[in-house]
């Protein structure tokens, strides 16, 4: 895998992008909260100050000039909680009372609270100015520094709280996504190796039982199954290749030898005949394979009709009876008349023919084959028993696989597809096929459910 810069690849991870998004949302909401708190506090506080100023201004405006001067000096000035700044100015701007050295610039004498600068004290205050009937000017104001302080506090709080929180969120996101990235990286690398052909590779499982582990386990199970199927396909492929190569090799050898040594017309004829027979064997193999594929495709179920299994069995038994006779094998046929079942006559004949073919192939002279059919429970039971070498219990499943041939049967002519074909036909009909022990020999049992 190519390795882009870490940050870049980090930013490309969904996990980290999510962390970024969450951090941004968190910051925004905190910012909004702080802004709201600040705004609320500032507005309420300003309104309260403004109200007091208005109230005080109204009260002072109605006092006599002497009382006013007194009040400013005695009542308003000492009360630092209420009025920080007050001043009574003559019409020409000369201060009469209060703590303001000069009339604040730009202050309008309209009785409305406003912001203004107190230049000599380097202050910004909220103040109200009134023109009194005697021509003097009254100014009372209040220091609103506390509000500025509040702003500072809020900003500080923001900085102290929000920035670490965001950093923390980003760090956590980065960490989590880094971990995810590493796990994904491992999965990716494993997948690459598997794609390159190493099917034994498995995804790493941490053992924590988290989602990742469960996913990895599922994928691993899937890989196990795929590996098993691949092995099956491979062994079938190997067997096909082997079984095709055998007759072709023989043909080749024969032709090669004939080229060197054959002289007479008759010998040529014989060579060619044997070559053709070898090719036919290879072709039969291919035909049988295609047949199994066709049957397993299942299209033939459409051609099902009621059939009498005892009749089919009897006809095939009759077909094979002379072969048994020629091989000096005792051939016993015991068929009960059974109810009709749904099936394909041609395929069932082929099934029977294959079973008898096998039985005859493996039963030595002097042995016996017994074909029987009877009603049993909710179905019909067809049995073909022989006194051949039998099939060991551990191989009874395997013999239905394509191309299986036990070592004992390798020496006998045949292409090992007979039982696969039988299995395919049985499956198509919903029959159950099993192999038992005939002591000696084997018995093939076919159980067909009644319609």
């Amino acid at each position: 895998m190519m390795s882009p810069p870490a940050v870049l690849s980090l930013a490309r991870l969904p996990m980290f992008r999510l962390a970024l998004l969450y951090s941004a949302l968190f910051a925004l909401s905190t910012l909004l909260l702080f802004a709201f708190i600040y705004w609320q506090t500032a507005v309420v506080e300003t309104n309260r100050v403004d109200g007091q100023l208005m109230h005080d201004a109204q009260f002072l405006a109605h006092l006599t000039p002497t009382d006013l001067k007194d009040t400013i000096d005695t009542r308003l000035m000492p009360d630092f909680r209420r009025v920080a700044h007050a001043g009574l100015f003559a019409a020409d701007g000369e201060p009469i009372a209060g703590n303001l050295a000069s009339f604040p610039a730009h202050l309008k004498l309209n009785g409305i609270v406003q912001r203004c600068d107190v230049i000599d004290a380097h202050l910004v205050i909220r103040a109200v100015g009134l023109a009194l009937p005697d021509g003097t000017r009254l100014v009372i104001g209040r220091n609103v520094e506390s509000l500025d302080t509040l702003q500072t506090v809020v900003i500080h709080a923001l900085a102290l709280g929000l920035v670490p929180a965001i950093l923390l969120a980003l760090a956590a996101g980065a960490l989590a996504s880094q971990r995810t990235r590493k796990q994904l990286q491992k999965v990716h690398e494993t997948a690459e190796r598997i794609m390159k052909g190493d099917l034994r590779e498995r995804l790493p499982v941490q053992g924590g039982g988290d989602d990742f582990d469960r996913l990895a386990s599922s994928v691993n199970n899937m890989l196990d199954e795929i590996a098993r199927l691949m092995d099956d396909v491979k062994s079938v492929g190997d067997n096909i290749a082997h079984d095709l190569r055998t007759p072709l090799t023989r043909v080749r050898a024969r032709l090669e030898r004939a080229r060197e040594s054959v002289t007479t017309q008759g010998e040529w004829q014989q060579t060619i005949d044997r070559a053709i027979a070898g090719l036919d064997q290879a072709l039969r193999l291919i035909t049988a394979l295609l047949r199994i594929g066709e049957i397993e495709g299942g299209r033939r179920r459409a051609a099902f009709a009621p059939v009498a299994l005892h009749q089919i069995a009897a006809e095939i038994a009759e077909l094979y009876e002379p072969i048994a006779e020629e091989k000096e094998v005792d051939f016993v046929v015991a068929l009960d008349e059974v109810p009709l079942i749904a099936g394909d006559r041609d395929l069932l004949s082929e099934l029977m023919s294959n079973l008898l073919d096998n039985a005859l192939k493996f039963t030595p002279a002097g042995g016996a084959i017994r074909v029987s059919l009877r009603v049993e429970g909710a179905g019909l039971r067809l049995e073909i028993a022989d006194t051949g070498p039998g099939i060991p219990p551990e191989l009874r499943e395997a013999v239905f696989q394509r191309f299986f041939r036990s070592d004992a049967s390798r020496s006998v002519e045949g292409y090992g597809l007979g039982l696969s074909l039988v299995d395919a036909i049985a499956k198509l009909h919903g029959f159950t096929l099993s192999i038992g022990d005939n002591q000696p020999g084997c018995v093939i049992m076919l159980w067909c459910p009644k319609a």
């Binding site: 053709i276 077909l319 041609d346 005859l360 007979g418």
Partner: protein, 237 residues
């Protein structure tokens, strides 16, 4: 070639049309049957094949199932539509039973799955050319061999021959086609009505058993094996 017999009873040559797009297969068939004395024409695609076959100037047509331009089944349908009843043998690499059924339903007279032995094709062509008329005869007679279809008895000369039902049916089939090569597949198909390929030498064993009864020691053999092809009943004595 051993499997191919000329039809000696017809003075003119048998006219065979081969519709096959694979040049090598076509060449093989043309060479084989030209050598055997047929008058062979070849068409390499569907439209040309239909044009030739549609002339009605052929005794038999051997046609691939899948052809460029026009499908084998379509040609067959067009021919039968035009009341041209020339026997047609379909050849196909498609071995499916369904395919075979479709081919025969469309009006084909026989169906051969590729690859096949040339002898098999020759035997089937012969069988179609000499298709026995659906006779109402009650007696079949080949040389000294006689079969009474009503009494279900068989005799060679004066010798009565006891036959099992299946042997009777086999001999019936042979006696209706004297001097004609009959392949194992043809016998299995027509006498037993099976289409699968048996592994063992089933047909040989059955024919062998019949032969023992027909050809007694000292008598001239009537049931002959044709090497590389099958069997033939000849009027021998």
């Amino acid at each position: 070639m051993s499997g191919i017999m000329k039809t000696n009873d017809s003075p003119s040559l048998v006219r065979l049309l081969v519709i096959e797009d694979d040049q090598e297969t076509a060449d093989e068939i043309v060479a084989e049957f030209t050598e055997a004395g047929y008058e062979v024409r070849h068409a390499a695609d569907g439209p040309q094949g239909l044009a030739l076959a549609g002339s009605g100037n052929f005794d038999i047509v051997v046609m691939d199932r899948m052809l460029p331009g026009l499908d084998g089944l379509a040609i067959l349908g067009a021919l039968r539509q035009a009341q041209i009843s020339t026997p047609v043998i379909l050849m196909s690499a498609l071995g499916d039973v369904d395919e075979r059924v479709r081919g025969l339903k469309a009006g084909g007279d026989d169906y051969l799955t590729k690859p096949f032995a040339m002898a098999e094709l020759a035997a089937r062509i012969e069988a179609l050319l000499r298709r026995p008329a659906l006779s109402r005869e009650t007696m079949l007679k080949v040389g000294s061999l006689e079969m009474d279809l009503i009494e279900r008895t068989v005799r060679r000369g004066t010798r009565e021959i006891e036959l099992l039902p299946r042997e009777f049916k086999l001999l019936d089939y042979l006696m209706r086609r004297p001097g004609q090569v009959l392949t194992r597949a043809m016998l299995l198909e027509n006498v037993w009505n099976y289409r699968f390929i048996a592994e063992t030498n089933l047909v040989d064993v059955h024919v062998g058993k019949l032969r023992k009864k027909i050809d007694a020691p000292g008598e001239a053999p009537m049931i002959q094996s044709v090497r590389g092809s099958g069997f033939m009943l000849i009027a021998n004595g």
